[in-house]
């Protein structure tokens, strides 16, 4: 397979998932909120966007609506957790379950049939990438547009979490008791952060729907795990020293994740029935990566002194020869 085509496929899958991973990161890491809404908001975001586009709404507005729909899912989860005091995990699951039905309803409407889970194909010229001619860019138009969106989102996220309010949100996640005693309204900060997170996931869903030209009822299954794996891979390989560092790590992590999958499925021609096994293996690997990293560092600490000594000796001998 052509290497440029492989890169293109990886990026067109990996870049939207950067947004997904970023959304999961905001709740999972910053807010310490195990948010199960992700798959629901991805589905709803994609479904809303697909529906809008089939109804000939301008793609920019359709994408924005997808993002908003995801945000509403997040708001509901936050509301359930904070105002109705339902445990975090359960409130996410409730929204996710509800969103399944709502998405079905949306798809059904788009097909002219209610409660049908069939997908609705989208014409490429109607999508957000439509303004770039696919004949000239050969599929790269998707990568370019999504890359720009990801860059903007990363920049805004970096700025937002450095502002006064962003700092309040981070404090809420780290130490809620302290945040409250410092006059931060933790109810509002939590709801806002969960909403933002799910809005990003909704945006990811909208972009995925437009890249895959449609979305079906099963289209979002497994994406929460993709997001988590991206975060874990990124953080262990590229570090999480600061917020900026973490943002970049996650984006690289999700691209790397899809690179591995593409390599397995496209280059090594892994049969499709084995892909689920590959996913599971990758996630297990991502989870134990910190341990592997430490083991390697330990091993290196043991091996490196003799090696360094050896090179030192060589160097000293050379110098002596030169001196002579």
């Amino acid at each position: 397979m052509d290497i440029t085509e492989l890169i293109r496929l990886t990026l067109s899958m990996g870049l939207p998932c950067c947004l997904l991973a970023l959304g999961v990161f905001l709740t999972f890491r910053i807010l310490d909120f195990a948010d199960m809404t992700a798959e629901g908001s991805l589905l709803i975001g994609g479904a809303a966007c697909a529906l809008m586009i089939t109804k000939n709404v301008p793609p920019l507005i359709a994408t924005f609506v997808g993002m908003l729909a995801g945000g509403v899912c997040g708001f509901i989860t936050g509301f359930l957790n904070r105002v109705l005091k339902i445990p975090k995990l359960l409130s996410g699951i409730i929204t996710m379950t509800a969103s399944g039905s709502i998405a079905l309803l949306l798809f059904g409407l788009a097909n002219g049939r209610i409660f049908a889970s069939e997908i609705n194909g989208i014409d490429n010229s109607k999508t957000i990438f439509g303004f770039l001619d696919p004949k000239i860019f050969h599929g790269w138009q998707q990568v370019m547009v999504v890359a720009v969106i990801v860059a903007i989102v990363l920049a805004v996220a970096y700025f937002f979490f450095g502002t006064e309010y962003g700092m309040a949100i981070r404090a809420t996640g780290i130490n809620e008791k302290m945040a409250k005693s410092q006059g931060i309204n933790t109810t509002v900060t939590t709801i806002i952060c969960v909403s933002i997170s799910n809005a990003l996931i909704g945006l990811a869903g909208a972009l995925i729907a437009q890249i895959d030209s449609g979305m079906n009822a099963q289209g979002a299954t497994g994406y929460l795990v993709v997001g988590l794996a991206s975060i874990l891979i990124g953080e262990t390989l590229f570090g999480k020293r600061s917020f900026k560092n973490a943002l970049i790590s996650i984006s690289l992590g999700s691209i790397l994740y899809f690179a591995i999958i593409m390599l397995a499925t496209q280059v090594f021609k892994m049969p499709t029935d084995l892909t689920k096994l590959l996913y599971a293996f990758l996630i297990a690997l991502a989870l134990c990566l910190p341990m592997i990293k430490q083991a390697i560092l330990k091993l290196w600490a043991r091996i490196s002194p003799p090696i360094k000594r050896f090179f030192k000796k060589l160097f000293v001998r050379k110098k002596k020869k030169e001196a002579e």
Partner: protein, 337 residues
């Protein structure tokens, strides 16, 4: 002035009627501004509950919490945060471990203020102030502003929490006005008129001063700047006399988790800060000696009642033996009943 009026609080964790535990039983307490109160009492006597009711972590079953004669019982914890600085027993509780020293301080600096989603969280001017404040602590924290708080020792974290609880940026003139109108004992309309009768001429005078200094050509740039700052300080002082919301510092066994040497240092620091800022302070402690050394009023709790309350000279004469005797008496009374 801080006041608890007939406050009752019962805990019922299991939902079983027999497990009802009365933490506070119709407690009345008045604390004048500027008092340094030490609170002692055995475990479960209601000391911490009192403090949590003051800050709003817990809501009383009945009774009122009054601040400058305004009922704040229904205010949430984050709304009251502007008036209370709280230091917890656990050193990990009062700071964010995964944030740097400067981030923690920035959050504390905005206590009780709105957090803007558009303004960058760090200011150069704040940094200078933080360094100045931290230098007084003499813990070497001023060189470690960008270090994560999580790697620091318990004593350092507690000292930082203490600074965060006592430091808060000066309320703006607008806030001063709002607080004066809500918290002064007069009618709201009267209070507003009173504030404005001072504010308006002061502002006009300041503006006139400012323009005259700017126009004065005999002054150098530096002298002009100094004169302007002085004029502003004068103006500011006139407004500050209305600043009712003197900070109240609540210390909940804040040295219990520290080693004796660090504990002593933190306590001395506390005393210094309280004396400098003339803060109203409530300190819970299990160390009778500390309870007698520091503060000018002592309160003893027992099974949800205040059984002993001394101030001033009377307190100065007390010894540890006296306090222990009081404890024994209280226990015996409880048995007899």
């Amino acid at each position: 002035m801080l006041e608890l009026k007939n406050v009752t609080k019962t805990f019922n964790l299991t939902g079983n009627k027999e497990d009802l535990r009365v933490a506070l039983d119709h407690v009345n307490l008045q604390i004048e501004s500027g008092e340094f109160v030490t609170i002692i009492g055995s475990n479960g006597s209601g000391k911490s509950t009192t403090m949590n009711i003051l800050t709003g972590v817990l809501k009383p079953d009945s009774g009122q919490v009054l601040l400058n004669n305004v009922d704040i019982t229904k205010m949430d914890e984050h709304q009251r945060a502007a008036y209370f600085g709280h230091v917890f027993q656990d050193p990990m509780m009062g700071t964010c471990g995964e944030m740097s020293v400067i981030e923690n301080l920035e959050i504390a600096y905005r206590r009780g203020r709105k957090h803007s989603p558009f303004l960058w969280g760090f200011r150069k001017s704040h940094k200078k102030e933080f360094i100045r404040e931290l230098k007084r602590f003499d813990l070497g924290l001023e060189d470690r502003l960008n270090q994560k708080v999580g790697v620091m020792s318990g004593g350092q974290r507690q000292a930082l929490t203490l600074l965060m609880a006592t430091m808060r940026n000066k309320p703006t003139h607008k806030t001063v006005k709002k607080d004066y109108i809500t918290f002064c004992e007069k009618d709201h309309e009267v209070a507003r008129k009173e504030f404005e009768s001072v504010y308006k001429p002061a502002l006009a005078e300041y503006k006139a001063n400012k323009s005259s200094i700017r126009k004065d050509k005999s002054l150098s740039f530096k002298e002009k700047r100094e004169a302007l700052a002085k004029a502003y300080d004068e103006f500011d002082k006139k407004i500050r006399q209305f600043d009712l919301t003197k900070q109240i510092l609540l210390l909940d066994e804040h040295t219990a988790a520290l080693d004796p040497k660090t504990a002593k240092k933190v306590l001395e620091l506390t005393d210094k800060i309280v004396k400098e800022n003339q803060m109203t302070t409530l300190m819970i402690t299990h160390n009778m000696k500390d309870a007698l050394t520091y503060g000018n009023r002592l309160i003893m709790f027992h099974t949800g009642h205040i059984i002993f309350d001394v101030r001033g000279e009377e307190k100065a004469k007390l010894t540890v033996e006296d306090l222990l005797k009081k404890f024994d008496e209280a226990d015996q009374k409880a048995i007899e009943m």
